[in-house]
Symmetry: C2
Subunit: 511 residues, 2 copies
Amino acid sequence: MSTIQGLDSGVQEKITQFKQLDLKISHLNSMLALAGWDQKVMAPKKGRSIFANAIGTLSTEVFKLTVSKEMGELLATLTSEEVYSQLDDVTKASVRERNNFYEQSKSIPSELYNEYMVLTSNANDAWEEARESNNFDVYLPYLERIVEIKKQFAEYYGYEGHPYNALLNEYEPGLTVEKLDPLFAELRKSSIDLLQRINASTSKPNGEIFDKRYDVEKQKEFNKFLLPRIGFDMNAGRLDETVHPFAQSVNTGDVRLTTRYLEDNVRSAIFGTIHEAGHGIYEQNVNPELEGTAICSGASFGIHESQSRFLENMVGRSEEFWKCFYQELQERFPEQLGGTSLDEFYRAINIVEPSFIRVEADELTYNLHIMLRYEIEKGLIGGEIEVKDLPKVWNTKMEEYLGIVPPTDTLGVLQDVHWSFGGLGYFPSYSLGNLYAAQILNTITKEIPTFYQHIEKGEFDVIQSWLKEKIHTHGVLYTPDELIVKVTGESLNAQYLVNYLEDKYSKVYKL
Amino acid sequence: MSTIQGLDSGVQEKITQFKQLDLKISHLNSMLALAGWDQKVMAPKKGRSIFANAIGTLSTEVFKLTVSKEMGELLATLTSEEVYSQLDDVTKASVRERNNFYEQSKSIPSELYNEYMVLTSNANDAWEEARESNNFDVYLPYLERIVEIKKQFAEYYGYEGHPYNALLNEYEPGLTVEKLDPLFAELRKSSIDLLQRINASTSKPNGEIFDKRYDVEKQKEFNKFLLPRIGFDMNAGRLDETVHPFAQSVNTGDVRLTTRYLEDNVRSAIFGTIHEAGHGIYEQNVNPELEGTAICSGASFGIHESQSRFLENMVGRSEEFWKCFYQELQERFPEQLGGTSLDEFYRAINIVEPSFIRVEADELTYNLHIMLRYEIEKGLIGGEIEVKDLPKVWNTKMEEYLGIVPPTDTLGVLQDVHWSFGGLGYFPSYSLGNLYAAQILNTITKEIPTFYQHIEKGEFDVIQSWLKEKIHTHGVLYTPDELIVKVTGESLNAQYLVNYLEDKYSKVYKL
């Protein structure tokens, strides 16, 4: 191990100790990643509740290590100005990440943390019951306490400006209400305006092909054909099936995706798989030299989502993508698609229609679903909204943003799992992903003017190499803002997504 | 938690601490069990070597806990006569198991242990290379050092009588050369005698049906049909595919089996699946109240193997079993089996024929393969056999026991992986399994006189309930000898297997 000039051997020893502890935590976390995947994908029914205890034990061990006295002492030395400035970039970033977590976690009284862990575990059941019975009151007391605790967490974490900033920071380091409000305001205004023009369009795409049934085995065949072609390395990953699709990295050589095949919804598997592939390719392409450190992952929730949205929407819903693959899909479904032209198909996969459920929303209205949740979370943490009023608030905002009102709370305020596990601050990541993706698209099409031609020819390696070099390989080396500036030359700017949506839907809806 | 009368609160506290430590180790071990399964069954190629480091880290943590100062102090209190005698049976057994491991492990100098871990890791590669190139010399230096270290381990562990006893004890607590020699002598004599009469039989079964090809998808269908019917709970387990079939318990609600489907060997999957199901049903039926303790598993390697052999051979190769299932098999393979009667099929699956490879051996000659390995291991540890002479010794004994000599070392001394991981003392478990199984068969057919009628009717629940109550539910509560005495009324007695084999093959070969 190389030593740094000018640091005494005691400090060198602490750097070594930090790296060993970082490695141990990383190894145990990859074990937890595998265990979490297994519980969702492989574990038989009767074993899951028993194994949950084992996961609990290991999680607790990892948590103890991350906030241990040893960690605290090592971080105290390594974050001191003299030492920190002399660390290599990887160690610097790893120290930064471990220190953020340490500072946050140690500020929470252990009694409150334990209450929170038990509460969120039980809240999931309450949420499921409430959703199934369309009865918000079942969920209400849990959600009230969760919001109360998250408010306290915000105080313990500390913040400048709005208290919600403390929670946003957990998912998108450095993000604040003060930065996000103008971004979302611009996006909301233009989205609502565009939506109105789309609704008034006299040249709407025809979505009848998606009312047809598609054989599941043929769908699997197509997805397995597609996945390696768009850049996912099947020797460093898997594709399995779950009700709720997700991507889980165990390490850079082992990234696991899931998708779901619905006979009555052929779009679900195709775009779900492309979406998760975007997450997965990111994880596969993180520099393997970062293995065993805190920074061997994606830069943030928002940046991660940008990679899945970029592949799903900017690439996967482009006309050129289907110039490349439509024939393959048609050949598998001649009855369903034989009479539909490429242009008709392209327009059909880009239909915009306000709907109740976020995860089923199109590219344009999706962001309105997110902004609604953002406004609500901000209000809950800021104290302007009370949990008991949520069903009413939800429906009012749905009317305002999307022009529709859900007939039940199950189709409204109860649809998402996030709040039940305390994930307040999480939702904005989804729209950040769209914003980052459009900004990255603007840069990549400038730097690779033949971008869409490569897609049309199936030359995804050109695009993936660019993303790898600019984004993926760095892991968590940079903060999200540092990274987007490094890649695109400026901080996040809503104009790119606004322009992208305007251009795309002007074409699809002949506005 | 209930307290024990007469023990002071300091001791009560230590009992509680022991249980917590036992629970933690058990949880982490179930995580390792899952990880080991995943590496063999699910993990993509590029992730395995990276993940091996994570497994190494967690294994080391678990090992440290099992030999920690804390564990030592707790065991010192709990094994003291006054305290131990007042513990409940489960805690007693758990203390016994942890203490055995602690006493053994702490006696090994850490430098020697580390050398052994690295050596056995590298020896596996050397063994694979040697086997592939039929070159024993590649393996020789590794195996010499492994044997040398195992001899030292035996001295550190301590033993009475033969030094090999120290190694046998790792797999079958309480087993000694002095007990095993007469058992194996009796079995060897009768097996060789029976084999000679079988070879001279003029009414040999016809095995031509097994030269045919069997569609793999149909095989899968049959195995999936069979597995739940013979007592394996598919809600508490899985069946996957690997080159080398195995069973792995994660917990009592999650037991995972693998099998392999060979187009040119239909017996492989059927009997492999039934065999692993025997292991799996055992683990599924351990009392769930033992979860989180050191005794939530099978009583020993030999007892475990008795359950797989019992189901595979005593049940699965019986005429009544195929009275129940042959029609199902025939329906799936009408071309291959349509012209073969049940009696012909039954005799064909019980063909005896000396062969080179242990894992492919029939029920009778299998034990001769094991006794050969037992004699060699005893000689290696006792100092009468040198590693460099193994190819010659192997072939001489093959001639003596089975009347055939392998043409290559790959088909001889290099065929098994066990020595490369230091598993000297392991092989006898396989024949112990056969011995225990025959003795258990003798008891169960007395206690359930309608035993074979239940098999014929597919009423496996009657048989599995008996095995559960008598054996499975107890986990490691009893030592193997205590258990077999409890179940059958006497210690292990070779006569039952001798009689079973004589009866069975007299019928199959019309002797």
